[in-house]
Amino acid sequence: MAGAGLLNFGFEFVEIFAFIVLATVGLAVIFGMMGIINLAHGEFILVGAYATTFAFAASVPLPLAMLTGVVLTAVYGLVLERLIIRHLYGRLLDSMVVTWGISLVMIQLTRIVFGNTAPGIGIPFGQLPIVDGPVYYLVLAVVAVGVLGGLYALFMWTDFGIRARATMQDEATARSMGVDTDRMYMSTFAVGSGLAGLAGALYAPVMTITPEYGTGFLIEAFVAVVVGGASVLVGTVLASGLLGTVNATVTNVAGTFMGQVAMLIAAIVAIRLMPDGITGLLADWRESRGESQ
């Protein structure tokens, strides 16, 4: 049954690719645009998941509950940016340490306030035929691709995107051209936070929600950001594609755990060969081609 095997592999790949993209994209926006590694990324995801699950438990329809999760996380990110993060621009290591402190506080506060469990949400849409998996994973993949497309449109085509990119490239010049750079930092951070919230919201029906829920996304997110490099969209897509392929192939042959191990080994080899990530390699390549012409 080569056909079914191929289908199984395809499904596995789609599932893992979507997970890596959604887990990474919020972190990648904040890192790529602002140069801040948000160690509390997992807990932003946690906010999205809790908001979703509690809204759902209060009998809000699921899509609306997920939207609540996204919006709440974005607002939460906005508040944190104003209170703490904005003091740390240009202090890369300090920002990592501080966001880790925030992460510790949030995990423990969640435990104190909500206890160790949260109400669950059933997986919507039922099972797929042939391959043994829920339809919902295909929905997640569509959303993941949609998010990437939306981000591209947002940063390339809108006025906001141009101003945001101008701010990140050269803050002084952007300000002298009349861009409110403070607001750009603020809104970019909110966009990144909202995307983290989206990951939390979307995976709330699939994963058990505990105070450590966000930690389950961390390895994939950090690895993909490091492998991807500084360019947000291209890096995320290529890294997710590479890691997803390796993971899905090995998972198909040797099981989930070995798939994860293989993915990490692939990541380590990738970093060894490309210390600035895939997009760093692409930039080098483009440069050398430009020189030879």
Binding site: V97, G101, I102
Partner: protein, 371 residues
């Protein structure tokens, strides 16, 4: 900062440990340190065996914290995964010791465990520094290594994860790890509860003095130069990549020593030593105590873990909230940490009191005494 060797008693004895890279080069500092060590040594006498049991864990943590202060504060390598070496050494000791619980076996286990964490750090460091991995990427990679070990050790519950007689045990951890012992054949000592406390304290003091001598040596100057400006140091002809590798490896060895002492104290090790919360603690200690002060980090580790322990005893769940907030506030309000700030205050105070041009260094991190 001036080096003031040549005055006070034991000047020749102090000289190797003093220099511009460490705070506290005055006789008053050394007196304060001696008093602090004496107070720590008196703890089991004053508060009984139970204090020795709990205190030894804090001292093992202090070693872990010091390993981070050494590589981050003096060479600018921020590792979020020092717990990886701490935990790997603990597991390595457990595996060897459970299989060979004789005097010789336990001595071998101790050496093997430290060797394993050292080699592990050297391999990871070689891979990173010679691979051109820098700055934040080093930080994230080390954290990912710790998290991966957490995931890996967590799934070792099955019977196939048994090495000789040692069961890794998944999230239940590896229990029945023997106490520390040193000797060959039938001659040697098994180190009991009280002995273990003093061995850990001795290891901490010896490591502190060793690292102090190292950072004040020629190599130490090269380390600090690498931290300040790696490219310029490389231009002067120093092999900065090699320096970073050596520093990272020593850091791994020190963390491993802490891990062995931690595991033998508890007779138990589980994957939570690799977890994200455990990985955060060394960063908290070094940030709060002051990463450029080995003693400040030690003091912060002892103080924070003591408060954490008291809160846990009283049934409070707020310890981590407190620790996390402390980290945020310290980095925002005094990014260099408590000990360097105290040091400045003492310098100013001394200059006001005594207009002589030679400023003297304070007994840094006296909070250590209060534990």
């Amino acid at each position: 900062m001036s080096v003031e060797s040549g005055d006070g008693p034991f000047a020749a004895l102090r000289r190797p440990f003093e220099g511009p890279n460490t705070m506290g080069n005055s006789p008053a500092f050394w007196l304060g340190l001696a008093v602090a060590v004496a107070v720590l040594a008196a703890m089991p006498v004053l508060f009984g065996l139970y204090a020795a049991e709990v205190g030894a864990v804090f001292l093992a943590y202090a070693l872990l914290g010091m390993s981070l202060a050494f590589i981050w504060g003096y060479c600018g390598i921020l590792s979020f995964g020092q717990v990886a070496f701490f935990g790997v050494a603990g597991y390595a000791f457990g595996i060897v010791a459970i299989n060979a619980a004789t005097l010789t076996g336990l001595t071998v286990a101790l050496l093997a465990a430290i060797a394993v964490s050292t080699v592990f750090a050297a391999a990871l460091g070689y891979f990173m520094f010679y691979g051109g991995v820098r700055d934040v990427y080093v930080t994230i990679l080390t954290l990912v290594v710790a998290l991966v070990l957490y995931t890996f050790m967590g799934q070792t519950a099955g019977g196939e994860w048994t090495i000789g007689d040692a069961r890794l045990g998944g999230f239940n951890g590896m229990s029945g790890v023997p106490d520390l012992a040193v000797g060959v054949g039938s001659t040697g000592v098994e180190i009991g509860l009280l002995g273990h406390y003093y061995v850990t304290l001795g290891a901490l003091v010896a490591t502190y003095l060793g690292l102090r001598a190292l950072v004040n040596s020629q190599f130490g100057y090269a380390m600090v130069a690498t931290r300040e400006d790696e490219d310029r140091t490389a231009m002067f002809g120093y092999d900065t990549t090699f320096i970073k590798l050596v520093v990272f490896t020593i850091g791994g060895a020190v963390a491993g020593l802490g891990g062995v002492l931690f595991t033998t104290q508890n007779n138990y090790v589980d994957p939570s030593v690799f977890g994200i919360t455990a990985a955060a603690l060394p960063v908290v200690w070094a940030s709060v105590g002051g990463r450029t002060s080995l003693l400040g980090t030690v003091g912060a580790a002892l103080a924070i873990q003591f408060v954490d322990y008291r809160l846990a005893l009283s049934g409070s769940e707020w310890a981590l909230v407190l620790i996390g907030s402390l980290l945020v506030f310290v980095v925002l309000l005094m990014p260099e940490g408590v000990a360097p700030r105290l040091h400045e205050y003492v310098l100013e105070y001394r200059e006001d009191a005594d207009p002589s041009p030679v400023p003297r260094e304070p007994p840094a991190a006296t909070e250590e005494v209060s534990d």
